[in-house]
Structure formats: structure tokens, C-alpha cells
Amino acid sequence: MYKVENSFLTMKPLKNLFYCLSLLATMLLVVSCDDDDPDPENPEELITTVNITLTPTGTGGTVVTWSFVDLDGEGGNAPTITAPALAAGTTYNAAIELLNESETPAEDITAEVSGEALDHQFFFTGTAITNQLVSLTYDDEDSESNPIGLKFILTTGQTGGTGTLTVTLRHEPDKNATGVSSGDITNAGGETDIEVDFDVVVQ
């Protein structure tokens, strides 16, 4: 077997080996410094703002604007939600506006949704509807005569009260599934792009 007395450290191969190792180690440490610092990614698809403008039909009455604003997207700071009171016994023409205000100027996402109307639909649920505080009907349709929900008509009941209205935007729902075109979300599927709650006050 191998003799150990041929002192390792005086041997030439070992010196060569150490030379090679140190060379390799140096190479490892010389890091590829292609210092191209990354730029922050621009979240194009972000929806920061949902504005719902409620305009009373007929003469008189006050235009009410509800909004849900979360400028830094998912995570980060909490959103700001405002929902001024509606007048009882009133019919409103409602229009939804979607914005990406993280960009300047703000990007209009409403146009993206109406441009892909076949693949989008809003749904309205919550105690404000089940308790008949308000009732809603769609006021727009896509090229296949199914609703979109960017425009709707909201009628408040005769008596005041409070309730929750959940506004949901589904991407790629099955609009032909049972009940979907009349606003029932149960069989819609797809994925949720927006789901915001407004505390509705009718007085």
C-alpha cells in the first residue's frame, strides 16, 4: 500500500495541486459583476381603484360616489373605502369606473374590461340585497346579449337601513351557466379580479 513517510507537503504534485486550487478559488471569488441593477416592475394589471358613480334619475337628488382605493395593491397599506348614504325610494343610474392609479396618469381599466366584455361580469351580493335595502338590474350587455355590469340601475327601498353590498368582478366566467346572466354568481366560475364590500346606508 501507499507509504506515508514520503512526506506529503514536500511533494511536487501537491504544490501543483495547491496552485491549481488557489487559482480556481480566485476565479470563484471574482464574481461576474455585470452590475445592471434591476428596475422596479410596473404592475400594469393592478386595479387600485373602484369608483361607483350613482346618479339619481329624474330631476334633483344628489350624485353619490362610492370608492374603494388601495394604491399599493395587494399587501402593504390598508385600502380606503367610502360609501356615502343613498336616499330612500330613489332610482340611481350606476356606472363603475376601474383605475390603476399607481401609474401617472392613471390607467383606465374600465376600457380593458369593456373591451373584453365577453370575458367579464360583475355580480352584486350581500345583505343590502337580501334584506331588500336596494335592488339592482344590469344596464349593459356584451355582443352575446349577456350582462357585463359596468352599468346598472340601483333602486333603494322606501325605508332606510344599513347593509353590505359586495361587488365582484369575475374574469372568464361561464356566462351561459344556469342563473349567471341574471346575476347569480353560484355557477359562474372563473377567477375573481375584484371583490369589495361597501357598507350601504339608505336614509
Binding site: 441593477d37 416592475e41 399587501g75 402593504g76
Partner: protein, 796 residues
């Protein structure tokens, strides 16, 4: 020694930067038989110098691994036969087929036939041989590995399988492709390893302490994929594999051609094409679960007795569909999906792969050189360059579906140099240095804030392993020092670039030994300490993980933004102590392999629920990486027994218990207790047909009754405890019955055809597996018929 220097410099300069090392890596294997080719199961083969002995299995096969170069005396014996002694000079892996002669006859000779190289195996390891791989290479790597007791899979649908060894997966496992650690985006639990199983002639799983040899990324184990040696043939030859599976209508073709000359020069080319469509559960299609894959490897090498060179390239390219019904926007969607018996979006069968989908490619270039440096031993240098690209496409608005939602590029250079030495007859070991540099970049233009930041990570490690062998026992010890630098490029709350930097120094160590109790019983035990600094994604990940409907935040994220950066010393690394032991018993009829382990991991990084956060898409749970002290303990049990001459029983069990000790709660994604039993009937030869085998197996997976508590989505907002939870209870246990049939038949004079047919899930059972991430959405796949045909056109 100028030549050695030249080789090393060539290895480094011609190719730029670095990866792995091999020490005592040779393998001595073969079949023991009598002179008339009657195999002798239960015969013993010993290496006198090492005091190491093995018992031939039921097929008469035996194997020694991790041998150093040197002269050895091989002693083969069996009751009623004369003991056979033969001296061999081992300088590469060798096959020897001892032929014993009955006591009253003349001594035979040990013949040395051919050679094959193999990676070093640690004490607690299991190997899938070329034979074990036959007919199953049409599956993914993860599925193939789950044949090994102690290995299970973490699944995302029918095409994405990650191996799990003793409860560890992803970035805690290392996967070696021909000696190079595959560097991909392994942090993601829906990211499968980028490996074509057809490249392997053998796959080993190292379950024991392996970090000393391989570094921090091997804290949970190592999967070693070995292609055949490039000069395994000395004439033109190859293999054509064809496979088809009815479920998903998956077709696979793989072709290997190779050639070698007596001068030691050899080459091999291999390619695989795979195409599959939507898989099916017993009741419905899994729409958008198709797969497309095309892979290529090429190798050229030259080897003499005491030196050699090898160049290896591999390219893996895949496109995978993710179940359409599993794509959700928020928790309401998830709650709806959970509540359904069938997923949304069930369409007719199609090969189309639509969004959501993954496009992954991995390219590897490897250069290796070795040379014997006189009394010093053997020096091996290996350089690897890897380019990994991952694009994930989502269902998006306004024509953005063609833009990847996640696009990552990872470039890794690695270099390893090792010296395998034998100090004297009883002492063998290896000294090595390995380094790597990784550059991870988010490709701009996704329009989505990346979930993991850009980073650069450099590592350098030095290790020494020594083994003392005497009589019937051996003792081994190893020590490793690692230095890691990490530079992260991320953004603060004002969207300004910040570049935190860290450096970590760690020491890993192992101590173990083998004891040959008798010629039928061996005992191995090993205790190892390893340390893993947190991965950049564990520190800095931030964002919405759409597949799980949750926001994930790293250890250094606070309140949705990067917190004050602590000094490196205040970042706690995972510290693992693992003690594992194996008892092997081999008799004529029974083979037992029992492994137990106890693994304590301090500062174990895991996702822990933190709060729910309101967003414009609704409320999401926020999971933050946090650290705890975890314990993993378990038993792997393999039991094979010959019931009659032709009928044998094979039983594999994997049992694991894991716990978060600090919080006294369970951890997520721990495999359920699994039992796999099969009855094999060997018909032997009928006419021209050889190796006719029928196997009936029963896979029994219990319900995971140690799953985290359940918090239904409806109760999430009112839940206050920060203990780990799941949205649904662990699915019920299940039983699957499978049948497998195969034979070989000679073709075209000296060539051979192998045919295998299998029926999996014969009874078309509907089930969901706890370890499948799509359990929230859909059942697992139903009955499948698989066919594979191998045409081996090597000269026989």
C-alpha cells in the same frame, strides 16, 4: 505532474467558472453463480482489505460502492462451494462475476468484464438499478423515486412531481445530474426538477447526512442521477424506448446511441420527446393538464487507466399545463372550488396547453477531468455551467396572457476539485473544495411585481472525509466548512432599489460506522450536523401566490415592506442534526432493509399564518416565513421474501412523524404513512420469451392524521391563533391495485426487445392525495394502461 496542472487549468480556463467533487467512487458489482450459470442467492462476497462484506440478493447480484482505487482481494464463498479468492487492481468501477465450484471440484476464476462508473454512496442510501428503471422511465423523476422506501412526492396535478426524502423537499434536497447539482427554481413547491429520467442508468437516493460532501443544499438528502459511463460499449450500440399511456394519451420516444473504442474514447447522444394531453380522473377530464417535453444529452469522453476527460451537455425543455379549474383569484373562488364535487372548466380531451402553464428549460454544460497523482491519490476537477429559465403564464386581462406572469433566469457556474486518497491499507478518504456562483434575475416586462427578488449567491466549501476500515467494522468522519455571500436586489416601500448583502459561515460534520455482525447481517449508523442559511425567497419573498390564494412574505418583510435589514449574524440558519441507522439482513430467501431516523431541525423555516389582509380582490390570508424547532422521525422498511421458487413478496413501507416542537403543532405537507406490497411471479423462460414476470401490487396510503388543524375559509377572518392550518381536512386514505407484466425476446440475431405493460389503479378508484396540491380542486387520476417497448441494439 505538469500534465495534471495542464488538465486542471484546461478545466478551469477553457470554460470560465465552477461544481462538484468525487472521492472514492468506484463500484464493484456482479452476479455470483456456479460454473453452470446457476445463480447463488445468499452467497457472500468480501473485500479482505476493507473487511467489508455483502450477501448476494435473490438474483445472485451483489454490489460494493464507494471504493477507492487500489488492489483488493475479493473472497467469494457459499456453503457447499469452495471459497474463491482473486486479487484485482481497481481503478474504475468493475463488474466481476465470481463462479463458485462445488467443494470437490477445481477452483474457477473470477472474470473481469467491462467497467462502469458510479457516484459515491453514503451509508444510508438506496439505489434503483438499470433493471429497476426499466419500463418506468416514461414517468417523471419524482414518481420513479417514490419506489424507494422513505421517498414520496409532493405533487401539483398529474405532471408535476417533486421528490420528498424523509419529509424534506424543494431547496432542502440536492439533485445531481451526472455529478452536477441541478440549479433551478426549486423553492417553488409547484416547480418540478428539470430532469429527463431516460438519461439515467441508475438513480441513488442518499437519505443520511450528506451535507458534508455536498454542502448546505443537501441538508435533506441527495438524489444522484447517473448516466451510463460514456465508454460502456466498445462498439456502436444503443437503445430505443417507446412508451404510451392511455390516461392523458401520453406518448414518449427516447433514443440513445453510443460508441466507444479500445483506446478509451467514447461518445453518446440521447434524446427524448414526450407529449401528453389532459389526464382523466375516474369521472371527468382534468382540463389543461397536458405536457410537452423535449430533451437532449450528449457526452464525449476519453479515459485511460489513470486519467480521463469528459464533456457532457444536457438540455431539458418542458411545457406544462396547470389544471384550469385550479386557477383562482381569491379565497371566495377557493372556497367555491373546495365546495364543488367537480372542478369548473371541464372540457373534452385535448392536447392543447393553455394558461395557466409553465415553460421551463434547463441547460447544462459540464467538463470533468481526473488524473492519478501518484501516491497522493486521484484528483478530479469538474466544472459546470447551467442556465435555467422559467416562465409562468397566467390567465390575464387585455391581451397580457402572452406575457409571462413570472419570468426568471438563473445562471450557475460551479467548480469542484477533489482528491481521493488512500493513506494506508485501512484509511481512505477525500479532500475537496467546491465553489459556485449563482445569478438569479427576474426578466423585466412581466407587468407583475416579482415574488422573489434578484440575487447573487456565491459559495465556497472545503471538506475532508476519512474512513477507517478494519476487520468487520469501519468508522467514518467528515468535516466541512462553508462560506456563503448573498447579495439581494429588492425594492423598499418607496420603490427605491436596495441591495442588502449577507455572508454566512457554517460548519457541517458527520460521524458514522458500519458493522458486519455476521455474513447475513450488517448494521450502519450515521449522525450528521448540517447548516443551511435561509434562501433569498425565505428572506424576501413578497406577493400573492395565486395557486394557493394567499399572500406570502419573507422573514425580512414586515407590514408589507422590507424591514430594517439585520446583520448577517442575526439571521438564524437552519441547523439540522440527523441520526439514521440501517439494519440489513440477507438470507437465501429473505432480504430486510430497515432504516430509522431522527432529525432535529432548529430554526426550521416554514410558512406560518399571520393575518388576513383586505385587498381589492377580497381578503387574503397572509403567510409569513417564520422559524421554529422541528423534529422529523421515521422508519423505512423494505422486506423481500421468496415464497416459492417463482413467487416472491416485496413490501415497502414509509412511515414518518413530524412536529413543530415550539408550538406543539403539526407541519404541512408531511407524507402520510404508506405501504406498498407486491406479489411477483417469475415465469422464467417460455420458448423464445425470457424474464417473463407478472406483478400484482397494492398501494395503501393512510389518511394523514397528523395534518395541521382545519380552518374553513368562512371562519378565517375570525380565527385568531397563529398555528399552522389547512383549509380542508387531509383527504381520506386510499388503496390502489396495480398490475404489471413484462418479458424480453431476442430480435435481429443478437439484439433484444423488452416489453412491459401495466395497469395502474385497476379499479378506477376516485381518491385525493394529501401531498397533491390540487386536492382542493379535483380527484387524482383514474385507471391507466401503460405500454413500453425497449429495443436494445447493443451487441450482446
Amino acid at each position: 505532474m505538469t500534465r495534471l496542472s495542464v488538465i486542471l487549468i484546461l478545466a478551469s480556463s477553457s470554460l470560465t467558472k465552477p461544481s462538484l467533487a468525487q472521492d472514492c467512487q468506484f463500484r464493484l458489482y456482479g452476479t455470483i453463480s456456479d460454473g453452470e450459470k446457476q445463480i447463488l442467492p445468499g452467497a457472500t462476497v468480501m473485500i479482505r482489505e476493507l473487511g467489508k462484506g455483502v450477501v448476494a440478493n435473490e438474483k445472485g447480484n451483489f454490489e460494493f460502492t464507494g471504493l477507492c482505487p487500489g488492489n483488493y482481494t475479493i473472497v467469494a464463498s457459499f456453503v457447499g462451494y469452495q471459497q474463491l479468492e482473486q486479487t484485482i487492481a481497481l481503478n474504475s468501477s468493475q463488474e466481476i462475476n465470481p463462479e463458485l465450484v462445488e467443494d470437490d471440484l477445481i477452483l474457477g476464476d473470477v472474470t473481469v468484464e467491462g467497467e462502469r462508473q458510479k457516484f459515491d454512496n453514503s451509508a444510508i442510501a438506496s439505489t434503483l438499478s438499470h433493471e429497476d428503471l426499466e419500463g418506468v422511465q416514461t414517468r417523471t423523476l419524482g414518481e420513479i423515486l417514490s419506489q424507494v422506501a422513505g421517498v414520496s412526492t409532493l405533487q401539483t396535478g398529474p405532471t408535476i412531481f417533486k421528490p420528498v426524502i424523509h419529509g424534506m423537499h424543494s431547496h432542502r434536497l440536492m439533485i445531481l445530474n451526472n455529478g452536477i447539482n441541478i440549479e433551478g427554481q426549486q423553492w417553488g413547491i409547484e416547480h418540478a426538477p428539470e430532469i429527463d429520467p431516460f438519461i439515467a442508468s441508475e438513480i441513488s437516493v442518499i437519505k443520511g447526512a450528506a451535507a458534508v460532501r455536498y454542502g448546505a443544499d443537501a441538508i435533506g438528502g441527495v438524489v444522484v442521477i447517473d448516466p451510463p459511463s460514456i465508454h460502456s460499449t466498445e462498439s456502436f450500440g444503443g437503445e430505443l424506448n417507446l412508451g404510451y399511456m392511455t390516461n392523458g394519451s401520453v406518448g414518449i420516444t427516447s433514443l440513445t446511441v453510443e460508441n466507444g473504442t479500445e483506446s478509451g474514447l467514447g461518445w453518446r447522444l440521447q434524446g427524448t420527446i414526450k407529449r401528453g394531453g389532459d389526464f382523466q380522473t375516474p369521472n371527468y377530464n382534468l382540463t389543461n393538464t397536458g405536457v410537452k417535453e423535449y430533451n437532449f444529452t450528449g457526452a464525449i469522453g476519453w479515459e485511460e487507466e489513470n486519467k480521463g476527460l469528459e464533456l457532457y451537455v444536457s438540455s431539458f425543455n418542458s411545457e406544462l399545463g396547470i389544471l384550469r379549474g385550479a386557477h383562482i383569484g381569491n379565497l371566495t373562488d377557493l372556497a367555491e372550488a373546495i365546495g364543488r364535487t367537480e372542478p369548473f372548466f371541464i372540457e373534452d380531451f385535448s392536447y392543447d396547453i393553455n394558461n395557466p402553464r409553465q415553460q421551463v428549460s434547463h441547460h447544462l454544460l459540464k467538463f470533468k477531468a481526473f488524473a492519478d497523482a501518484g501516491n497522493l491519490g486521484r484528483v478530479t476537477a469538474q466544472y459546470g455551467f447551467q442556465y435555467n429559465q422559467r416562465k409562468e403564464f397566467d390567465v390575464r386581462r387585455a391581451g397580457r396572457s402572452g406575457l409571462p406572469a413570472l419570468s426568471l433566469e438563473l445562471i450557475t457556474n460551479s467548480l469542484d476539485v477533489s482528491l481521493d486518497h488512500q493513506l494506508d491499507a485501512n484509511m481512505v478518504g477525500a479532500l475537496g473544495i467546491s465553489g459556485s456562483f449563482k445569478d438569479n434575475e427576474n426578466v423585466p416586462g412581466t407587468g407583475i411585481r416579482p415574488i422573489i427578488p434578484d440575487y447573487e449567491r456565491g459559495t465556497i466549501g472545503v471538506y475532508l472525509v476519512e474512513k477507517y476500515v478494519t476487520g468487520n467494522w469501519s468508522l467514518d468522519a467528515g468535516l466541512r466548512f462553508d462560506h456563503q455571500t448573498l447579495n439581494v436586489f429588492t425594492f423598499d416601500a418607496q420603490n427605491d432599489l436596495i441591495k442588502p448583502g449577507f455572508s454566512f459561515n457554517n460548519i457541517s460534520a458527520s460521524l458514522g460506522g458500519d458493522l458486519i455482525v455476521s455474513d447475513r447481517v450488517t448494521l450502519s449508523t450515521n449522525i450528521g450536523r448540517s447548516v443551511r442559511p435561509p434562501h433569498p425567497f425565505e428572506l424576501f419573498s413578497q406577493g400573492l401566490h395565486t395557486g394557493t390564494g394567499s399572500i406570502e412574505e419573507g422573514l425580512l418583510i414586515d407590514g408589507g415592506q422590507v424591514a430594517a435589514i439585520p446583520s448577517s449574524g442575526n439571521i438564524r440558519s437552519e441547523e439540522s442534526w440527523k441520526w439514521s441507522s440501517t439494519l440489513k439482513v440477507n438470507t437465501n430467501k429473505v432480504h430486510i432493509d430497515l432504516t430509522t431516523y431522527y432529525n432535529l431541525i432548529d430554526n426550521f423555516v416554514f410558512l406560518s399564518p399571520k393575518e388576513t389582509r383586505l385587498t381589492i380582490r377580497g381578503a387574503f390570508p397572509v403567510f409569513q416565513y417564520s422559524q421554529t424547532d422541528a423534529v422529523f422521525t421515521g422508519v423505512d422498511f423494505e422486506f423481500d421474501m421468496d415464497l416459492t421458487e417463482k413467487l416472491s413478496l416485496h413490501s415497502h413501507s414509509s412511515l414518518i412523524w413530524a412536529k413543530d416542537q415550539t408550538r406543539d403543532s403539526y407541519l404541512t405537507f408531511i407524507p402520510a404513512q404508506t405501504f406498498d406490497n407486491s406479489l411477483d411471479y417469475d415465469l422464467g423462460e417460455v420458448g423464445k420469451f425470457k424474464n417473463i414476470e407478472v406483478s400484482l401490487s397494492l398501494l395503501n396510503v393512510l389518511q394523514q392524521n397528523r395534518a395541521p388543524r382545519v380552518v374553513p375559509i368562512s371562519e378565517l377572518e375570525t380565527s385568531t391563533s397563529n398555528d399552522v392550518f389547512d383549509f380542508i381536512p387531509a383527504p381520506e386514505g386510499y388503496n390502489l391495485v396495480n398490475l404489471d407484466f413484462g418479458f424480453k425476446v431476442p430480435a435481429f440475431k443478437d439484439k433484444e426487445l423488452s416489453f412491459r405493460m401495466g395497469i395502474e389503479n385497476i379499479f378506477n378508484t376516485s381518491y385525493r392525495d394529501y401531498m397533491n396540491r390540487l386536492k382542493y380542486y379535483a380527484d387524482d387520476i383514474g385507471r391507466n394502461f401503460s405500454f413500453s417497448l425497449k429495443y436494445d441494439f447493443h451487441a450482446h
